[in-house]
């Protein structure tokens, strides 16, 4: 019987299954960061348990770390304590690799894992972070877990899980100029809604997906959780394998050849069954901009803010009214007329080298609009930062009046000092536009790196394709 990629990943990790379908799933890679792990390590210690296979752990500090003045350390004492707690836990228990604050390879956990080859096809990958879906770009079964599950994985190398339904998201055709993986992600969420993928594992397929780089595929799988799906995944092809060659933790020599032979089988078989299928035409996708407080509140750059008076469903109507009030927007306003106060280019969605190159290509020779207060460029990791500097991208940003920062999660969730003030409006390449996400009272519009860079230049949203 033909199997989907999800079937193959699931079946190859089931250790034990109960009558009601509850399974014990073996976990290959456990990514750890400072926010969701302290209570798990504490629980392990209190119960007198040892980690089952500590060499499955790759850890980094990312959520709390500052993105400037590293010489001054972490000023917020509570943030510092959390980062120091991770340091102490890794010292006590160990790890395959740890990239602590200020390490030259430190960065966002979902950037650091893949760039070091710690994410390999066919793995189950978990982390106490919902954006773990990112790693599905490598044909992994990867998803976020809670802290109790972090402890469970540390103690048992397994997760108690039930198989999800499967959804195929097929995007055929060629993306237009200025249209990116981020726009595919937002267009998918606009189509199926933020709960459309709840209970499903998504597989992204079709010629437009095969045409994406690994960076683009990570952006897309990263946003699977914003469609409600814990996991999103993409089949292995030459692009996957080329990316992994010679990474730190990638297999070498004969082992590499053996691994590649297996990885090539990590595709959905012809005729594999899916519980749901959604099809999009790549050529019809335009640069996307969110206008509300949920990623499904999205339209294209040529669109307008919706009018709640035209919505019949009362729950939906009041949701839109509340969102427009929070966002300080008036119904029927053209998206291109919305001014921005700040711009954030970064996050586990869009902080990889390709994202920075794309933003720099828009910015080169141009200046930040005078009305824009701040533009933060936050690379996803120390390695991304070094690569960008080797290419001179940082000089393009600095010359334009942008701020070139140290790596971390930064203003995606504003756990460090980078944040919006109440009422400030931001063009952001991150993944969530929830109320208060980037700072209490802050107003977030999700866009691609190209669209964010263009907004920084124009001072308002603008179709990046018109910039030339």
């Amino acid at each position: 019987m033909p199997q989907s990629l999800y079937d193959k990943l699931w079946n190859s990790h089931v250790v034990h299954e109960e009558a009601d379908g509850t399974a014990l799933l073996y976990i290959d890679r456990h990514l750890v960061h400072e926010v969701t792990s302290p209570q798990a390590f504490e629980g392990l210690k209190l119960a007198g348990r040892k980690p089952w296979r500590i060499s499955s752990v790759v850890a980094t500090a990312d959520h709390n770390t500052p993105t400037d003045h590293w010489d001054e350390g972490i000023k917020d004492p509570i943030s510092r304590q959390q980062v120091e707690t991770l340091d102490a836990n890794i010292r006590e228990f160990g790890a395959l690799a740890y990239f602590p604050f200020k390490d030259k390879k430190q960065g966002i956990v979902h950037v650091v894992g893949p760039e070091n080859g710690a994410t390999l096809p066919g793995m189950t990958v978990v982390c106490g972070d919902s954006h773990t879906s990112t790693h599905g770009a490598f044909a992994c079964l990867a998803h976020g877990i809670g802290t109790s599950e972090v402890e469970h994985v540390l103690a048992t190398q397994t997760l108690v899980a039930k198989k999800s339904r499967s959804m195929l998201i097929k995007v055929e055709g060629v993306l237009g100029r200025g249209v990116t993986a981020k726009d595919i992600a937002l267009a998918v969420i606009g189509r199926i809604g933020t709960a459309g993928g709840t209970g499903y594992a998504l597989e992204f397929a079709g010629s437009a997906i095969r045409g994406l780089s690994m960076e683009g595929r990570m952006t897309l799988c990263n946003m699977a959780i914003e469609a409600g799906a814990r996991a999103g995944m993409i089949a292995v092809d030459d692009i996957t394998i080329d990316y992994l060659k010679d990474r730190t933790f990638s297999p070498q020599g004969d082992m590499w050849n053996k691994a590649v032979g297996y990885w090539r089988t990590l595709i959905s078989d012809d005729g594999a069954a899916f519980d749901a299928v959604v099809e999009l035409d790549a050529a019809l996708i335009e640069p996307q901009v969110t206008w509300g407080t949920s990623p499904e509140m999205v339209t294209h750059v040529g669109g307008t803010v919706p009018d709640p008076a035209k919505i019949d469903d009362p729950v939906k109507r009041s949701g839109i009214e509340r969102a427009l009030s929070y966002m300080g927007l008036t119904a029927n306003t053209p998206i291109a007329e919305i001014p921005v106060d700040k711009v954030f280019i970064g996050s586990c969605t869009n902080s990889r080298i390709e994202d920075l190159r794309a933003a720099a290509a828009i910015v080169r020779g141009r200046q930040k609009a005078a009305s824009v207060k701040q533009v933060l460029i936050v690379p996803g990791s120390g390695l991304v930062k070094a690569q960008a500097e080797a290419e001179g991208l940082h000089q393009i940003f600095i010359a334009a009046g942008f701020e070139w920062r140290e790596p971390g999660c930064s203003m995606c969730l504003a756990m460090n000092a980078d944040r919006l003030e109440p009422g400030e409006r931001c063009a952001s390449t991150s993944n969530r536009n929830f109320e208060g996400r980037q700072g209490q009272g802050g107003r977030t519009h999700l866009v691609s790196p190209e669209m964010a860079a263009a907004a920084a230049i124009a001072g308002h949203f603008i179709d990046v394709r018109t910039l030339g």
């Binding site: 209570q39 919902s130 048992t156 208060g436």
Partner: protein
Amino acid sequence: MQAFTTLDGLVCPLDRANVDTDAIIPKQFLKSIKRSGFGPNLFDEWRYRDHGEPGMDNSKRPLNPEFVLNFPRYAGAQVLLARENFGCGSSREHAPWALEDYGFRVVIAPSFADIFFNNCFKNGLLPIVLPAQTVDLLFAEAQAKEGYRLAINLADQTIKTPMGLVFGFDITAHRKHCLLNGLDEIGLTLNHADKIKAFEEKRRLEQPWLFA
């Protein structure tokens, strides 16, 4: 984990769809390295009129009287009635920790986000999915009648309204067993330690690059 068997609890209706975990417990409170003490900051940005930070004396902060949790009639509520896609967004287990620490033992909604739903069961918090029409009815009754309570029986998988209407709900046998008995799931899993070891050894032989 505390066990859950039955509850006769006051209902608080939170009439918003897509309530995300950032709203349930804002990020600044995630800096804590403890599991407890999140209750006073549950729904912090909606509940208070000022900006909350860890370490503040929450009893001295100005409350937002328009937020439903602050209505005197819902003081002591143990059942949260919610709308579609409750708990979406971040995987932070601090969200169920905050709900539980505040005093909630049950959340009823037409649908939940997967990770949040799963996290609830690890903390003695029972999330119940009911059809949208049933949730509409419960909202109407809870908003109309002060002191509206629901009786939840996990063993029977039933919810009973004050008028005597009874609704059934689904739960997997495994989750029900763990919740009814307040079991430590890690201990249960370690009963299968031999199976895990055998699986791991086979995997090590077949895909040695995973064990570098």
